[in-house]
């Protein structure tokens, strides 16, 4: 959900705490702070204010674990991408693992923070770039008088091996990663058929458009 208040915070906190102000006893178990006034008696101190509601905040434990795991998982995803020939793997699988890393970060940090980090430009760029590379490599053979994706006509040493690797690594993997993340963002944006909900769904709409563009291709 793009309209989560405080989605993605530092600390595991009162999550179900969207209780009414009248029954918000969770205020009392906060660590007390010593009120030190210097002539501001007209203003209540923070500790005396009944909190209206508490935003859902992410679990610090999950966030830190994901922080540790994510680089290794992404490295593994790229390893799988690069080693399609001699082990189970390849562009599709590697791209899916890389996308899973983004999803993991999204679940740990909240969707808003993830979107700020992994912007729509990157999502679309991955998918479009992958398609362009795929098409480009494929068209070389066609231009040279052969058939589409005829690796043997590529002007590089070991054209069949490196041509196929290039399509796998630079073509299929980014397409899969980009489309998976785009679809996830699209699902996370949800659907809102209420009237006048536009302000809340601006980000959601923006991504919906982007993701739709990808899907149309």
């Amino acid at each position: 959900m793009s309209d989560t208040p405080g989605a993605g915070s530092d600390v595991d906190d009162a999550a179900a705490g969207s209780g009414d102000a009248s029954d918000a006893p969770d205020v009392s178990d906060r660590p007390p702070i010593e009120p030190t006034y210097s002539g501001h008696d007209d203003r209540p101190h923070l500790s005396q204010i009944q909190r209206q509601q508490t935003p859902y905040t992410e679990s610090q434990v999950i966030m830190s674990t994901v922080k540790v795991v994510a680089p290794f998982a992404l490295t593994f995803g790229l390893f799988v991408t690069f080693h399609g020939a001699d082990s189970p793997g390849g562009g599709f699988q590697g791209g899916a693992i890389a996308a899973a890393v983004v999803l993991m970060i999204a679940f740990a940090f909240g969707i808003d923070a993830t979107r700020e980090w992994f912007t729509n430009v990157v999502v679309v760029g991955l998918a479009v770039g992958g398609v362009l590379v795929f098409g480009g490599i494929g068209l070389v053979g066609l231009v040279d008088g052969g058939t589409f994706l005829e690796y043997a006509r590529l002007p590089i040493p070991h054209p069949v091996k490196y041509g196929m690797e290039g399509v796998e690594i630079l073509g299929i993997a980014p397409i899969v990663a980009g489309v998976l993340v785009g679809l996830f963002f699209l699902l996370a944006a949800g659907f809102d058929d209420r009237d006048g909900a536009g302000t809340e769904t601006e980000i959601a709409d923006a991504t919906t458009d982007d993701a739709t563009t990808e899907d149309d291709r």
Partner: protein, 101 residues
């Protein structure tokens, strides 16, 4: 010769023993499936499926060692990654039914 092909008793190899161990894990997984089906809460099911996933990882690793297929371990790593992803994703989804994604 890998140690998995080593005969230890009655013509059975270490690999055979590992296969039997993997079968044992499958039987135990069936027991856990009970909790995944019965619940009663969503979290119970997530937990049971998470335990099942860990079991699956071990089964994959045992099969990889017994059948001398080291590539099974790559699959096991991916499975472990997805298992973790599943647990945090579904458990978060159960809070306010995905309203806090």
């Amino acid at each position: 010769m890998s140690i998995a092909d080593l005969a230890i008793a009655g013509g059975y190899t270490v690999g055979d023993v590992l296969l039997v161990g993997a079968a044992g894990f499958v039987v135990l997984a069936l027991g856990m499936l009970y909790r995944a089906v019965v619940g009663p809460t969503m979290q119970d099911r997530v937990l049971a499926v998470n335990v099942l996933g860990t079991n699956t990882v071990v089964i994959l690793a045992l099969l990889g060692a017994a059948l001398d297929e080291p590539t099974f371990l790559d699959i096991a790593i991916v499975y472990a990654l997805l298992n973790f992803l599943m647990a945090i994703a579904v458990s978060k989804f159960t809070v306010e039914r995905g309203g806090v994604l």
